[in-house]
Symmetry: C2
Subunit: 316 residues, 2 copies
């Protein structure tokens, strides 16, 4: 945000005792035009003045963060959130979607979920490609991530270092895995025009290490869990139309992103080495922050966003 | 258009004696809900009633088609055009851009240039990718087209079958080559935030056939021109920032589209075999026709378009 022309960083909130009250410029080791002290709570930040846009990154599950979103929207603040379930919340949380949409419309601001995934690699990019097809019979999206390149919390959430039994226990409790695959699948399915009467199946399984693998944060012995593989498959009228596959594994060979469209024309797209998750999530959120005030008020999705970088040149 | 839900085909114009007056359904060999006779002129079509949107595909050079665009806009019709120079007309035609923008704003409709290229492969898709980068130092876009897959007029405009001397004469007169590379380069440069004081260099050269090559429409002997290669390079402050390269050759080996972004993160994207031009141009124009009435009035570009297919599903 500090580097994007047209955006000005005016506040920050974090309740962590180690962070609140600290000067953001010092924490980021960069200079900012004005001092920004990290507020301990949203109320306190909003009491200082209303920002135009909030970048919200506090949790993956919509019911857990909906109160924060409602507070921002009620204050007339447009919101770009990395909450994975907000990226396309209509199927998993229809009631909450309607409520947030009504609140945002009432306040005259847009509320948008984005990120690298969901939000870009496995949905927005796919939908953008589909727009040059006359017809689309089937879409397959594959993302393979070498989790060694990701932050520690990411490496933990894929179960790296667990035994198979510990993995099964944790995944049974819903504590492991990527959140957002179903959201991406529904975004694509809607963009394909599939009927609401569709079937979504999801799978999640551990990937075991063949040999020991080490990251900056943890070590996985041979036979332990190195990560996981998930899929989400959409069928309509008994026919498979969308297949999403993601593997997030410490030391995964050939990380990449791939989109295969069976249609007219058929298209095969590949991003070599894959779009790096943490860095790209920050960048796409900033790009969206520069755009969100152009969107009509209400709960919006990446389907509504004319995605572009925030640096709009001087020539127009 | 006839197959896209939400769109209804209500008219067609073509002054060609072999076409005007004919029934479109018969010509397309498909059934349409109502009879559509091809009108010989735009006046006549507009006299029958005002359509919401016009799909305009009559020429590559903006000054040659601007009168048609003005007539449509003045009648209150939103326009999606495949005119290559309309895709990003601000640098080549600043006056005409202002005039068309004012006319469209005055009429309360949007006017948009699109297509596979310019409009998608070498610009919109690139800008979409750049939105997940923090910073972009350099962008290289390569498109290699095997012209055997394209229509006859395309094969002629790349000089296939000419001698080298005939090629030089025709290209000197501006009668050969791809129109739109500079437009794509400027769209990317603006999205990168490059200053208006930039330098654009363009090159065009013939590609000679090593061996005889045959298409459905013509034959090229060894040593004759099989197609051409063009480039457009943007420099700002003395540094190359954008490099666009397109080769359109009868029998080109390994046709593909590639985007290489030097930045953070660095990204390398490839569409195997490339996006097929004629089919994808028709599809993206229809996708935009379904979207153009959501755009603010005025002269718009693909930077403004939340590109997606026209089939919006039932779930929202």
């Amino acid at each position: 945000v500090a580097q994007a022309p047209g955006l000005e960083l005016v506040g920050a909130v974090d309740p962590a005792p180690a962070l609140c009250g600290r000067d953001l410029a010092a924490l980021l080791e960069m200079s900012l035009p004005a001092r920004v002290a990290i507020a301990p709570a949203l109320d306190e930040l909003l009491a200082r003045g209303r920002p135009d846009v909030a970048l919200h990154a506090t949790g993956s599950r919509l019911p857990e963060v909906a109160g924060q979103l409602e507070q921002l929207v009620a204050a007339g603040v447009a919101v770009v959130s990395t909450c994975e379930e907000l990226a396309y919340p209509f199927q998993r949380h229809p009631e909450l979607s309607r409520k947030l949409d009504a609140a945002a419309r009432g306040a005259g601001v847009a509320l948008l979920g984005t990120g690298v995934n969901p939000g870009f690699v496995m949905d927005k990019l796919v939908v953008t490609l589909m727009a040059v097809c006359d017809a689309v019979e089937h879409v397959r999206v594959v993302r393979v991530v070498d989790a060694r390149t990701r932050r520690e919390s990411f490496q933990r959430k894929i179960g790296a270092g667990l035994s198979r039994a510990a993995f099964e226990a944790k995944s049974g409790a819903g504590a492991l895995g990527h959140v957002g695959l179903a959201e991406s699948a529904h975004m694509i399915a809607d963009a394909m025009g599939l009927p609401a009467e569709r079937r979504l199946r999801e799978t999640l399984q551990p990937e075991l290490a063949d040999a020991a693998v080490q990251s900056a944060f943890l070590r996985v012995e041979a036979g332990q869990v190195a990560g996981l593989a998930q899929s989400a498959i959409v069928e309509a009228d008994g026919v498979e139309r969308v297949r999403m596959e993601i593997a997030m594994v410490l030391g995964a060979p050939s990380p990449h992103d791939a989109v295969t469209i069976q249609g007219s024309p058929a298209l095969e797209m590949r991003v070599a080495t894959g779009v790096p998750g943490d860095e790209a999530t920050a960048a796409v959120a900033v790009s969206c922050a520069a755009l969100v005030r152009e969107l009509p008020p209400g709960l919006r999705t990446m389907l509504d966003v004319p995605l572009r970088p925030p640096w709009r040149g001087a020539a127009r």
